[in-house]
């Protein structure tokens, strides 16, 4: 279901049964949307599963937030080289 964190359909359904009935809490219970793909791969299927559990065409609630970065980025690719430069001065 979610290859990043090995969350299975069984995990999703059993967590739902246990009461994690909101995309955000289901996410925190099963770790879907939280791996390297951040929902790019599993998002659609997870949405379909939640919708099916709700008996709807699309989940009633919004999908978990799309957070930065859109693709994993190395810390060294974001670190300022010059320590004297006040980090954040650019923004």
């Amino acid at each position: 279901m979610c290859p990043c964190h090995d969350a299975t359909l069984f995990d999703l359904r059993s967590s739902w049964e246990a009461g994690y009935r909101h995309p955000e809490t289901l996410k925190r219970a099963t770790a879907v949307f939280m791996g390297p793909c951040q929902g790019k791969l599993c998002g659609k299927v997870a949405g379909d599963v939640i919708a099916a559990l709700q008996g709807a065409a699309e989940p009633e609630e919004r999908r978990p937030s799309v957070r930065p970065p859109l693709f994993p980025v190395r810390m060294g690719d974001l670190a300022y080289e010059d320590e004297s430069k006040p980090a954040g001065g650019a923004a």
Partner: protein, 396 residues
């Protein structure tokens, strides 16, 4: 329902106690109230329990602070954290891996002996580390910055969602009703006494109302005509992909304004701050904070330069000028209790929940809690704590 333990249906017309906010403060307070026999309690939250700062913080726990007030409050919390899994019948994944307050400057190095001596006086065990000892403890740290530190061995971190879920389930089992999706618009008062709350679904009567509304607690106070000098602030964090274990303990660096730890899964989780607070309601993250975090963490742990950031998120708090929490009955409104202004709220919740419940049920303010009462802010007194990773610059 949004989580196991959340009530189905609508709230009743009245309760003995209404707690506003199902974050870790509200749930811990409700649980402790139920434990001492007050079970006609409703906890109301406009979103899902733990959806605010309770589920967005750095998960770190210590009691080795420089002031008596902080050390004693948080030492009670630390003791509670080590008991909670068994008591709540839910493993909160408390990991007593140790907590290092890193000295990166000469000044911090000079001061650490004094701070540790004070901690010993307060009954908080801590160890003074020199540069060689710090390097042994955190071998990946940049030796230029790892000058020394104060290490608290029995401190560490726990899983923030698990703490919320554990309190929630235990409170529900004890008879507390926790509601998700109920928005509290106002605290109702009459003749200097609290009478209940106004929600989007109507009024609910209660003789006791607890404000545990996190970032929104000041908004709620204003509806009860309680005026405290609080400001909202946004805090941001990052998490990386899992890497092999390289950092055993939790680390805070007051000078760099950073705090971090590595989870059992191997993810590095860290947050930093910049001087001046970021006053906003927004849960969006900012570009300059992301660059700041990357810059500081790569400086402190150069090998992290090659590790990928997976996610960056934000949370909001409402904070007091001295950055200490406000605990206890609100001035001028009897029956209206506050557990607000938390910046180290996850860390302090187990103690605060117990102390506040005790003061509500007995009518006596426990000595450990007394210094944190709201009166200090009105009278302009502050609690001086020097080992916080949070900034007071930009205002006074």
């Amino acid at each position: 329902m949004t989580l196991p333990g959340v009530a189905t249906g609508r709230p009743k017309a009245g309760y003995d106690v209404v707690v506003v906010g199902a974050g870790v403060q509200g749930l811990a307070t409700a649980y402790e109230l139920a434990r001492s026999g007050v079970t006609n309690v409703a906890v109301l939250d406009r979103s899902w329990p733990g959806g605010g700062a309770s589920g967005r913080n750095g998960e770190m726990i210590r009691s080795a602070f420089s002031s008596r007030e902080w050390a004693q409050l948080f030492d009670l919390s630390l003791r509670r954290f080590s008991e909670l899994s068994a008591e709540l019948d839910f493993n909160i994944l408390f990991s007593p891996s140790g907590y290092l307050v890193l000295s990166t400057t000469d000044e911090e190095l000079r001061r650490q002996d004094l701070v540790a001596a004070k901690q010993a006086e307060y009954g908080v065990q801590s160890e003074i580390l020199d540069a060689a000892e710090v390097r042994r403890l955190v071998p990946h740290a940049n030796p230029e910055l790892a000058r020394g530190g104060i290490f608290q061995r029995r401190a560490g971190f726990a899983h923030h969602d698990a703490v919320v879920w554990g309190y929630l389930r235990a409170a529900a089992r004890a008879g507390v009703s926790v509601f998700s999706g109920v928005d509290v618009h106002a605290v109702l008062t009459s003749g200097g006494r609290v009478t209940g709350v106004r929600t989007d679904g109507g009024d609910i009567a209660a003789d006791i109302v607890v404000n545990a509304a996190g970032a929104y607690s000041d908004d709620l106070n204003l509806t009860a005509d309680v005026h405290l000098p609080l400001v909202k602030a946004r805090l941001e964090m990052i998490v990386t992909e899992p890497v092999k274990p390289f950092l055993r303990c939790a680390v805070a660096t007051p000078h760099l304004l950073g705090y971090c730890h590595q989870t059992a899964r191997g993810e590095f989780v860290g947050g930093t701050e910049l001087p001046g607070h970021d006053e906003t309601d927004s849960l969006n993250t900012t570009y300059h904070m992301l660059r700041d975090m990357a810059t500081k963490w790569v400086r402190l742990f150069p090998d992290l330069g090659g590790v990928r950031i997976l996610r960056n998120w934000a949370g909001t708090v409402s904070q007091a000028p001295d950055l200490a929490p406000v605990l206890g009955e609100a001035p001028g409104v009897s029956g209206y209790h506050l557990s607000i202004a938390w910046v180290y709220g996850f860390m302090g919740a187990p103690a605060a929940g117990r102390l506040l419940a005790e003061s509500i049920t007995t009518g006596r303010v426990p000595a450990v809690m007394a210094p944190f009462e709201a009166r200090r802010l009105i009278e302009g007194r502050s609690i001086a704590e020097s080992t916080l990773v949070v900034t007071t610059d930009g205002r006074s």
